[in-house]
Amino acid sequence: MTSLSATMLIWIAATTLITWLWPRRLQPYVIAACTASFFAWYSPLSMLILLVSAVICYIPVVTRRKDWRIVVACTGAIAAILVWFKIRQSTGADSPEYAVIPLGLSYYSLRLVHFTIDAWKGTLPQSTVGQFLCYLFFLPTLVAGPINRFQEFQRSLRRRRWDAMMFSRGLERILYGCAWIVIMGNYVISFSLNKVVARLAVAHPALSEYLECASYGLNLFCQFAGYSDVAIGFAMLLGFTVCENFNYPLLARNIGEFWRRWHMSLSSWCRDYVYMPVLSVSRLPALAALSSMIVLGLWHEVSLRYLAWGLYHGVGIAVWQVFRKAVGNRTVPTGLPATLAAGAAWFATMNFVLLGFAITKERSLVDALAVYRTIFGL
C-alpha cells in the first residue's frame, strides 16, 4: 500500500477512537478537527486552499442574496483554483514539485460547487456554519471521494448514533477495500497479469497491447473501488452513511449504463451540474452528453489526452442515445435470443471502455494512436 494509505489507516483508527470518546453533540466538530489536523500535518498547502475555498463558497450563504452573479463569481473562483493546479500539474509533469496537486482538491472543489449552486437554487436545507465545516472537513471522503452531497450528509449527521452493527459492517468494508487494493489491484493484476502481458509482447504484440489496456482498466477499478470501500467503511465507523461509488460497472451492457455504475458520485455530479443545464438550454441530449463527458475528462487532468478521452466517451454516449431512439422499445433484435444479444452488448461495451483506457494510459495521444495501430494491425 502507498505511504498515504498506511498513514490513512492510522488516522482512521485514531479519529474513530477520539470521536466516540466525546459527547455526541461535539463529535462532528471533533471529526472536523481531526481532519484539519491531518491536513495541517500532511499538507499545509492543501489546508490553506481548502480554507480559502470554503470562505469563497460560503459568501452566497452569508449574503443571503439570490444574485446569480455572486454564484458565478464564487464557482468561477473555485474552478479557477482547480484549473490552475491542474494546468500546473500537466505542464510540469516531469518536475515532482509541480506534479502534485493539493490533497483532495479535485474532490472538494466539486463539493463546493454543489454547495454554492444548491444554496443559490434554494434546494439546500437550513444549515449552520458548523455543519458546513463538518461536511467539508470530513476525512473519510475528503481525499479520494465519493463526492457526497450536503443534503445526505446533514441527514446522516442528524440521525447518527452508536450502532455496533454498523461499526462491524464498517470494519468489514475497510478490510474488503484493503483486499481489493492489495491483493486484486497490486498483486493479481499489476504484478501477475502484467508479467503475462510482458511475456506476450514479442510473439503477440496486438494481444499484449489489448491485455495491457484491460489490465490498466481492471487495476483502476480494483484500486478505486477499494479506496471507495475504505472511505465508506471509515464513514460507517463514525456513524455516517455515504453514497456508493460503484455498482458492478463491469456488468454494464451499454455505455450509458456503464457511466451510471462507474464512479457514480462523479457521474451524478456531472449529470446535475453539466448535463441537465446544457440540456435545458440547448434541448440537445448529444451536446449535453458531450459537454458533461468533456468536463468529466478534464476534471481528471487538463490535457489533450483527457480531452480526447472525454470526447471518446461523449461520442459513445451520443451514438448510444441515437441508437436507443432508433431501436425504440425493441430491446432484442429479431431472431436473436435475448441472452445472446445481452452478451454481445456487454462484450461491445467492455471493449469500448477498455480500449478507451489506451488514451489515458499512454503519456500522449501519439502513443495512444500507436497502441491502436498495433491492436488493429493498421
Binding site: M1, T2, L4, S5, V100, I101, L105, S106, Y107, V143, A144, G145, E172, L175, Y176, C178, A179, I181, V182, I183, G185, N186, Y187, I189, S190, F191, N219, L220, Q223, F224, Y227, W299, H300, E301
Partner: protein, 45 residues
C-alpha cells in the same frame, strides 16, 4: 459475513468460520503488501 454464515450453519461454527475468514484476509493483505505496488492516480487528483 458472520450473519451470512449463520444462515447456513450453527452459530458456533459460523463464528469460527468468520474468524478464520477474516484472519485469512488480513494475512493475505499483509503478505501481499510487500509486493511491488501499482501507481494509483486517483489519490493524486
Amino acid at each position: 459475513m458472520y450473519a451470512f454464515l449463520c444462515r447456513w450453519m450453527p452459530e458456533r461454527m459460523a463464528m469460527l468460520a468468520a474468524v478464520f475468514w477474516y484472519t485469512a484476509i488480513i494475512v493475505l493483505i499483509i503478505a501481499f503488501s510487500a509486493k511491488p505496488m501499482a501507481e494509483f492516480r486517483y489519490m493524486k487528483i
